[in-house]
């Protein structure tokens, strides 16, 4: 096994959200069945043997729960065959409020899924409709109830803020409603306008309202305060958890560890290369069935990229980057490459030293991209460590 983590992408949705730029298609029963077959062939080709040990599995989308019972069962069966689910630490599936019933929950439970990531987004029916979401606020209550009744305590709730027309007060109310569930994990993202989305089209035409930056920053401050007051700790720029409930799978990304990426448009990171799969469904299905290798892009990851990514991913974690761990991994201290830049960022008030770690300051989090950029290297820089 080249990696201890697995991401599986299910690109089907009952409805397409106006902000979503992930690989997704309207659910079609026949196509979905074919897709699962193709996916199965991809996994089989890339991973030999059965019951392989893995630490984390994450089924994302799209909307994985958009699959019908039979398809969902095939998918879970395939995972169960290939991977040792019983010994998997975290097995997450994404779900939308209202698009699953008790039967599906029981099925997930039976196959060892132990964490649900729920796309709630906002507690306001009108705004949900604006986002192109199908569910209503009442579905959120029903779904969480249903999950908890069926033994799913480890639920993560996704929120989006800085929505069109959203005010600071509106966000505060929505957030309070979210934390009232007292769930162990929350992911909260500022709305990002990405190309190839409905929102982008509106934005380009000047027809999409956006709250001013000042308000977005205020919302973020409220978010951090609220979470802190509830004993939910921020452990990454957008992620909050009660102690012990930090997402193991997401930490794989920020720790710069390897993971498989299966499915249309899925991304993987295996020793020496990052890959991106074919996105269009028919092309993906054809190639995955043909040779089980539906990769579109491969990016070689050499020492330079590895170091850069170690830094700009690692700094997303609130704990930041540990001096010793870096040295163990690369055999030289990061100061060798970044001494001046770190001094510059500390001087700017964006970075701070904390024991053996360097980490973002509160202000540094807000200017994360400017910080991360400083860790991109030039070819010549590597001479310093060769």
């Amino acid at each position: 096994m080249k990696a201890q983590s697995v991401y599986i992408h299910i690109p089907f949705c009952q409805q397409i959200c106006h902000y979503c730029d992930f690989t997704k298609f309207f659910y079609d029963e026949k196509l979905a069945t074919e897709y699962i077959e193709a996916l199965s062939n991809e996994v089989d080709t890339q991973v030999h043997g059965t019951k392989n040990r893995v630490n984390t599995i994450f089924i994302g989308g799209g909307t994985p729960t958009a699959l019908n019972m039979e398809q969902l069962r095939s998918l879970l069966q395939l995972i169960d065959d290939k991977f040792d689910v019983a010994h998997c630490i975290e097995f997450t599936i994404e779900a939308n409020p209202g698009d699953f019933d008790e039967d599906k929950i029981k099925l997930l439970r039976a196959f060892g899924v132990n964490r649900i990531s729920l796309g709630v987004q906002v507690f306001d029916d009108a705004m949900l409709e604006e986002l192109g979401r199908l569910h209503k606020v009442k579905d959120v209550y029903r779904s969480i109830d249903l999950l908890q009744q069926n033994g799913f305590g480890n639920i993560s709730l996704d929120l989006i803020y800085a929505l069109p027309k959203q005010t600071v007060e509106h966000f505060r109310r929505s957030l309070n409603e979210a934390v009232a569930f007292n769930l162990p994990h929350y992911s909260t993202y500022a709305l990002q306008i990405e190309p190839k989305t409905v929102f982008y089209q509106r934005y380009k035409k000047g027809k999409l309202h956006r709250p001013p930056q000042e308000e977005e920053v205020e919302m973020y401050a409220i978010l951090k305060d609220t979470m802190r007051s509830k004993g939910i700790q921020q452990y990454e720029i957008s992620n909050f958890a009660k102690p012990g409930y930090e997402s193991r799978h997401n930490q794989v990304y920020w720790n710069n560890e390897h993971y498989y990426g299966f499915g249309a448009g899925a991304h993987g990171y295996l020793p020496g290369e990052r890959t991106g799969n074919i996105r269009p469904l028919p092309a993906y299905i054809k190639k995955a069935k043909e040779d089980g290798h539906p990769v579109l892009n491969t990016e070689a990851i050499g020492i330079r990229e590895m170091v850069e990514e170690e830094m700009f991913l690692g700094l997303r974690r609130m704990e930041g980057i540990n001096t010793n761990q870096f040295y163990e991994k690369f055999g030289f201290p990061y100061e060798k490459l970044y001494k001046e830049r770190i001094a510059y960022l500390i001087n700017k008030g964006w970075l701070e030293e904390n024991g053996e770690n360097i980490q973002l300051t509160d202000q540094g989090v807000l200017f994360g991209n400017d910080v991360f950029e400083q860790f991109l290297l030039e070819e010549d820089d590597l001479m310093l460590v060769r």
Binding site: Q192, Q213, S238, W254, G261, H267, G276, V365, F372
Partner: protein, 601 residues
């Protein structure tokens, strides 16, 4: 060996898009100068930039063999001309190398101002014109109207006009026959002392300057010692050849020939377009007529975004100068932008081309300041100074009078659009001179307008207000006093010298307001609030504020797509490279050009 009386030297005169390049390609194809495989679309426009802009910047000359209908062999030299007003002089010199010209006019659009200007150049040079109405295949073609126009405007007999479609190969054979029958062979005697007209030159790193010449008298061989008559410098010829269209070496060029020579000439400034080449041993007594030194009309500052590239920029300018004797530059330093160069250009297009070539071919990110003209400033102490850089304008209280260059602008337009044309010209401080009907529809409107207004978006506005029907030509006519003041722009309280500009007092307030608003949108939010002010002397006349940046972070990681995240960071880094730290403010390149655009009406 083809006899001198069977040589035909000609060029094609046409407006952009009227089909010159298509016709040239067709002629190349018919004379088998190129095989089908070599045939790139529009072979003569070789530089990428030329292709992109659909214009010819550098001239080319091609030698072609043609067998006429009566089975006689002819040697054609087709000399290409640049199609833009900035290069009028170069056009006039390449026309001087010819005995005739094919005048190509679009069957739908009719004759345009620049074409007309070039026709007059051709008539000045006593060229035989072969009028062609091209694109008769177009559904909206109106050859009868255009023929009438040619008769009315230029006095061409309608019966002499060839109706053609170069695209569909209609009329092309007739054009070639008429080249044979109508255009005279070059005169001149091969026994006379050499007189070769330089109509272009380019620099080759291995061979030195390649000089394009047309032999008007005498002949020249490899090994001859030549003299350039304008500066008296002498060189030994080491290579001679013709373009067919690829270069072919020859031993000798003789009277009537059009080709090239190299002579280890290091400096292109030595081979000025229009100059005469003669032999050192047996020199001609007089130069060919018409030589003049070109003076730049438009000036701007060029600064490297990255100060470390100052030397690279100097080398780039040196290299470009090798091929472009009309480019002038001298070192300049700006408080805001550091070290750079003040450059002079023939016109706006010329300026844009040089900028683009520096960025593309030499990979230097540039900050370009707004173009300026040369002002004559008479100071209160009686001294007169020339100012080509707004930041060096003397303080307003020391200024007695400012004079600025004016042009006579000739705008040719269908009569429906005369209103808008006059409106734009008035707004650009133009003085009406004359209006003449060329025919029932087309009108020639003549204005005297300050050159500085033309340098702004005059032509763009003209095109947009006349749905593209207007065509435009201008000629500098001299200096006139104007009520001009210097306007300064302040960022975060600091005057940014590179943003200063000179403006008519009556328009100062509106321009100031417009520019501070525009800069507010163009300059991205910084870590702190930045006031933007426009001032005349010590008086602030307009103000806006760039709010402080509050955040720059992506809250999500694109589902494990780290490559995408990396690309985003790389793009961000690249974007910052294109910003210039001015005092404490990061300013993007476009901001320095903001003073140019004037959509404030």
């Amino acid at each position: 060996m083809i006899k001198q009386e069977n040589v035909r030297n000609f060029s094609i005169i046409a407006h952009i898009d009227h089909g010159k390049s298509t016709l040239a390609d067709r002629i190349l194809e018919k004379t088998k100068a190129l095989t089908q495989r070599e045939m790139k679309d529009q072979f003569l426009d070789a530089m990428d930039l030329e292709r992109e802009r659909g214009i010819t910047i550098k001239l080319n000359a091609v030698q072609l063999n043609y067998k006429s209908e009566n089975e006689e062999d002819y040697l054609f030299h087709l000399i290409d001309t640049p199609g833009h007003v900035d290069f009028t002089y170069e056009v006039s010199r390449s026309l001087a190398a010819c005995e005739g010209a094919v005048l190509v006019v679009d069957a739908a659009q009719g004759i345009e101002a620049q074409t007309l200007a070039n026709v007059y150049l051709a008539l000045d040079n006593d060229l035989e014109l072969i009028p062609v109405i091209n694109k008769i295949d177009l559904p909206n073609a109106d050859p009868d109207r255009v023929a009438q126009e040619l008769e009315d405007v230029i006095g061409i007999d309608k019966d002499e006009i060839i109706l053609a479609s170069a695209k569909d190969d209609i009329g092309v054979d007739e054009i070639m026959e008429r080249v044979v029958s109508d255009i005279p062979a070059p005169s001149g005697e091969s026994e006379n002392p050499l007189k070769a007209l330089i109509f272009d030159s380019l620099y080759d790193p291995y061979r030195g300057v390649i000089t394009y010449v047309c032999i008007k008298e005498g002949s020249v061989k490899v090994g001859d010692k030549i003299r350039l008559m304008a500066n008296g410098k002498e060189f030994e010829v080491n290579e001679i050849g013709v373009f067919r269209p690829n270069p072919v070496a020859k031993d000798e060029l003789t009277v009537g020939d059009v080709g090239f020579l190299t002579a280890s000439i290091k400096n292109i400034g030595d081979t000025r377009v229009g100059d005469t080449v003669t032999l050192a041993k047996n020199p001609a007594e007089t130069q060919l007529p018409g030589y003049k030194r070109l003076n730049p009309m438009v000036f701007c500052g060029l600064f490297p975004v990255n100060p470390n590239q100052y030397n690279d920029l100097r080398e780039a300018l040196e290299r470009l100068e090798l091929n472009d004797s009309s480019l002038q530059y001298e070192a300049e330093s700006s408080q805001a932008l550091g070290f750079g160069f003040r450059c002079g250009f023939l016109g706006l297009l010329h300026m844009e081309i040089i900028q683009e070539r520096i960025e593309r071919e030499f990979n230097i990110n540039l900050i370009t300041t707004a173009p300026s003209v040369i002002y004559e400033v008479e100071k209160t102490d009686g001294e007169t100074v020339e100012v080509d850089n707004p930041s060096t304008m003397p303080d307003n209280q020391l200024v007695q009078e400012v004079r600025e260059p004016y042009v006579e602008a000739t705008i040719m337009v269908p009569n429906d659009y005369v209103g808008p044309v006059m409106e734009i010209s008035q707004r650009k401080r133009g003085q009406f001179v004359n209006m003449e009907y060329l025919d029932e529809i087309r009108v020639n409107v003549i204005y005297h307008i300050p050159l500085s207004e033309i340098v702004y978006d005059f032509f763009d506005q003209l095109k947009s207000q006349t749905k593209g029907y207007a065509s435009f030509d201008y000629e500098v006519i001299g200096y006139h006093p104007s009520n001009l003041v210097k306007m300064d722009i302040l960022l975060n309280g600091d005057t940014i010298d590179a943003l200063s500009f000179i403006v008519h007092r009556d328009f100062a307030f509106a321009r100031g307001k417009n520019i501070v608003d525009k800069l507010k949108d163009l300059i991205p939010r910084q870590q702190f609030e930045v006031p933007v002010q426009a001032a005349i002397g010590n008086k602030i006349i307009a103000r806006s504020t760039i709010k402080a940046l509050k955040k720059n972070v992506l809250s999500k990681l694109y589902g494990g797509d780290v490559t995408r995240k990396r690309k985003l960071l790389e793009k961000q880094k690249e974007g910052k490279k294109r910003m210039k730290m001015v005092g404490s403010v990061e300013v993007p390149q476009e901001a320095f050009m903001a003073v140019l655009e004037m959509n404030d009406d």
